[in-house]
């Protein structure tokens, strides 16, 4: 499978709905310091169910909702959607016959939140199950965050073991 589309709205520095149409192969994301490139990585992680605010560089999960700028007020909800193409490898379970699936996560400023798969309400568990075989959800080598590449080297041998276990 691969990511066909990423839609970000109200998440971090993306107040206006922004859609990335990614292809297979190599996609380069470029721009000046602070323009939102790493926020794109955070959006993908978050949509797939990231539970740790710290790993999204925030103090609390509310920090992912657009907080406003000097010229613009904050928003009340963050929403990210990922559309995956099956690409010849059938999705698991009830989605086996789908050519693509769309996962959506929302978070409201009052603390409420939800997941959707193809518009139907779903639990975090359902989203995680979609990736059990493929390991897309495995944080350890699907995402190499800014400044983190050196951690593989400085990690303790027990921590590196976990990388091997994820590839098993």
């Amino acid at each position: 499978m691969h990511i066909r589309k990423l839609e970000i709205c109200g998440f971090k520095s993306f107040p206006d709905r922004t859609a990335f149409h990614f292809g297979p192969g190599i996609s380069g994301v470029v721009g000046p310091n602070g323009c939102g490139k790493s926020n794109v990585v955070d959006a993908v992680k978050w949509c797939l169910g990231e539970q740790s605010a710290k790993s999204l560089r925030g103090g609390s999960m509310q920090d992912v909702i657009f907080a406003g700028t000097q010229a613009r007020t904050q928003m009340g909800m963050a929403e990210v959607s990922l559309t995956f193409a099956a690409d010849g490898v059938p999705f698991p379970g009830e989605f086996a016959h789908h050519e693509e699936i769309r996962i959506t996560r929302r978070l409201f400023r009052d603390g409420g939140g939800e997941y959707r798969i193809n518009e139907a309400r779903a639990r975090l568990r359902d989203v995680q199950d979609l990736f059990l075989d493929t390991g897309a959800n495995n944080r350890m080598y699907s995402f190499i965050e800014q400044g983190r590449i050196g951690q593989i080297i400085s990690a303790r041998p027990e921590q590196r073991r976990a990388l091997i276990e994820e590839a098993a």
Partner: protein, 151 residues
């Protein structure tokens, strides 16, 4: 279980021994188990020898040498069990021109296995991408997507 860990470890190690010299332009590297007797608990260590140099502690490696070693390990895991996509955020920042060029070449090979989304400030890396996505903040604090031309 023990069998599976050992098996996976051996595959990753085999890839690592091959990818490292190709990525770095020589030298050698391998993975070792800290405790061969206890496969359930054993940690994983890295032995690396940059081209022409002696085997030394990982901590003495340079910034660029460490990044290349880590990239080689990431790619080794990938070849055993590719995740459908991989997001790399400025992993090429510490690399000089030579290592940067080899990284790009290897990345292109790896992209046959998986989709790669690569954040970079490096012109050479941009040139080897299939598509570029420009993010700007023409309005401060508000990110937008723009099309990118490489000159």
């Amino acid at each position: 279980c023990r069998e599976r860990f050992r098996d996976t470890f051996d595959q990753v190690d085999r890839n690592f021994r091959e990818i490292y010299p190709s990525l770095v332009g020589g030298g050698s590297a391998r993975l070792i188990l800290t405790d061969e007797e206890d496969l359930l608990e054993s940690g994983v260590d890295i032995m690396v020898q940059p081209p022409g140099k002696k085997l030394q502690a990982l901590t003495l490696l340079s910034g660029g040498e460490m990044a290349m070693t880590a990239i080689a390990l990431i790619f080794s895991l990938f070849k055993v069990k590719p995740s459908p996509f991989c997001l790399l955020d400025e992993v090429d920042a510490p690399l000089d021109e030579g290592n940067g060029a080899r990284f790009n070449r290897t990345l292109q090979q790896m992209s046959e296995l998986s989709q790669f989304i690569v954040i970079t400030h490096n012109k050479k890396t941009m040139e080897c991408a299939d598509t570029l996505y420009g993010v700007t903040m023409a309005v401060p604090g508000v990110s937008r997507l723009v099309s990118v031309q490489l000159d």
